[in-house]
């Protein structure tokens, strides 16, 4: 037993000795241009019970472009739904809060387009009727939203760790709800056509 331990120790030590000595670079490795600037996790907002995504930022994070993949289990559908969403968000103002690590982007406006794939979804345009009978697609949705986010810059984060975490909300709607609302202004309230999404983003 003791022998085995000694043997293991010896193998371990020889391994260390055998490892080539590494010269640590004095610059950090470059970040490839195509690496996403953030990853995100979202709940609801018409884009899935949960959705994961990646995104890019432009104009000092005032513009964000996200791609999400969402999931709705069969329990809340006919068959499980997969929802692919692309969205663009513009948040012009960034306000540092009293504690310097916290910040607020009080207002955001954006738009999304989504495609829902689901085996059981009865398509509105699959040739059952003459063309144009149903003018909308039951798979593709587009819509606007407004929102906001709180962000937190983490202490002691290394080059590899996400530097900033932000929590966001989105109040939105979609083309079909807005069409219904427009024809019934004064009757159908905005509250009735709004959807809420909540999410978190990890930024590098």
């Amino acid at each position: 037993m003791v022998g085995l331990l000694l043997l293991a120790g010896w193998i371990g030590s020889t391994n260390i000795e055998a490892a080539p000595s590494v010269a640590f670079p004095d610059t950090l490795p470059p970040r490839p241009w195509y690496a996403p600037r953030h990853v995100l996790l979202q709940a609801a907002g018409g884009q899935g019970l949960v959705a994961v995504g990646v995104g890019y930022t432009m104009a000092r994070r005032r513009l964000e472009l996200d791609a999400l993949l969402g999931y709705v289990p069969q329990k809340y559908s006919r068959t499980a739904m997969g929802i692919g969403t692309i969205k663009i968000t513009y948040s012009p103002w960034s306000i540092p809060l009293a504690h310097h690590r916290w910040g607020l982007r009080p207002f955001a406006v954006g738009a999304f387009g989504s495609y829902t794939a689901s085996k059981g979804l009865n398509s509105s345009r699959d040739g059952k009727y003459e063309k144009g009978y149903y003018w909308w697609s039951s798979h593709t949705r587009v819509g606007p939203f407004v929102g906001g986010q709180v962000q937190y810059e983490r202490p002691r984060s290394t080059h590899r760790d996400a530097r900033t975490i932000s929590f966001y909300y989105e109040l939105g709607s979609n083309d079909l709800y807005l069409t219904s609302w427009w024809a019934n202004r004064g009757e159908l309230t905005l509250r009735e056509i709004l959807t809420l999404g909540l999410g978190v983003k990890l930024h590098w």
Partner: protein, 295 residues
């Protein structure tokens, strides 16, 4: 994984310890969503416009309305029965509100029958929007599924919000048989309408039943009715004892036709957009009167 594919040199640590805590928190919140939503009644958190979730207050409405109907005594004497007949509420919310106010001023009405196309896009929220207005009716309302209610996940949404696609009930010496006839939505596969069910539902009316009424969305002489099933369906109706007439929507306008012989009349309803509805008064096995009301 993703990042190791993307960049060999710059490899971010996707989740370090504190980030894991954040993810755990969000997942917990996501798990709690249905519960918090139920507790707070917050229907803003929408998983998809095609989801079929609906709060309890907007669930099983057919059963609830039938129970409410059975609790009400027929306001008219003898075997006379009066009900309001309209169809296609799809996207006409202003009209639904005005309709409710108009019907609430009527006397002697037992219930409202809506001949399908409750929604336009087959979305659960649309059905809730319609109920939000029709629930203010002083009398119960009963619906049958329309082709627009079958689009997308509409069939499941309709089943959640209203209930069965085929059902029958008896009230005021009358047996009502409501049946899904939206054959085109099911690809004309010879299964919708369920003729065997219709036959059985219309069989052997009890001695207290003066007449039977069938309501469906798509009329049997319409191009959207499954062509394979027109004759068996019509035959089932013709053979049904004491069938007064068939009721349909879909065409958005009023009409009384008898395409399969004078013994089997069909009455088509106004759509909500027409701002008119029918008041049907029935007596004896065949007697009926149609009044049209503008609102």
């Amino acid at each position: 994984m993703l990042f190791s594919l993307l960049g060999r040199q710059w490899r971010p640590r996707l989740l370090d310890r504190s980030a894991w805590a954040v993810v755990a928190w969000v997942l917990t919140m996501a798990d709690l969503l249905p519960i918090t939503w139920l507790l707070s009644g917050c229907d803003l958190l929408e998983l998809s416009p095609n989801e079929t979730r609906t709060p309890v207050a907007y669930r099983d409405l057919t059963r609830k309305n039938l129970e409410a109907l059975q609790r009400r005594a027929n306001p008219l004497a003898g075997d006379t029965l009066r009900f309001v007949f309209i169809g296609d509420s799809q996207r006409f919310y202003k009209e639904a509100e005005a309709f409710t106010q108009s019907v609430n001023q009527l006397q002697g009405v037992s219930f409202v029958a809506v001949a399908g196309d409750i929604s336009d896009f087959g979305l659960v929220r649309e059905m809730r929007w319609v109920h939000e207005r029709l629930r203010r009716l002083k009398v119960p309302y009963l619906t049958v599924i329309g082709n627009h209610d079958v689009v997308a996940n509409g069939r499941e949404a309709y089943q959640q919000v209203y209930g069965p696609l085929n059902y029958s009930f008896e009230y005021g010496h009358t047996r009502f048989v409501f049946v899904d006839t939206n054959g085109r939505e099911y690809g004309f596969k010879g299964r919708v309408p369920d003729v065997a069910w219709v036959r059985q539902a219309l069989a052997n009316p009890g001695p207290g039943i003066s007449r039977q009424v069938v309501m469906s969305h798509v009329p049997p002489n319409d191009a959207d009715f499954d062509p394979h099933l027109v004759s068996p369906y019509v035959e089932a109706l013709q053979r049904a004892p004491r069938l007064a007439f068939g009721l349909n929507g879909h065409r958005h306008d009023f009409g009384v036709t008898a395409p399969f012989g004078p013994a089997l009349p069909f009455i088509n309803s106004y759509a909500f957009e027409k701002r008119r509805y029918l008041v049907l008064t029935l007596w004896g096995p065949q007697g009926f009167q149609i009044d049209s009301v503008s609102y």
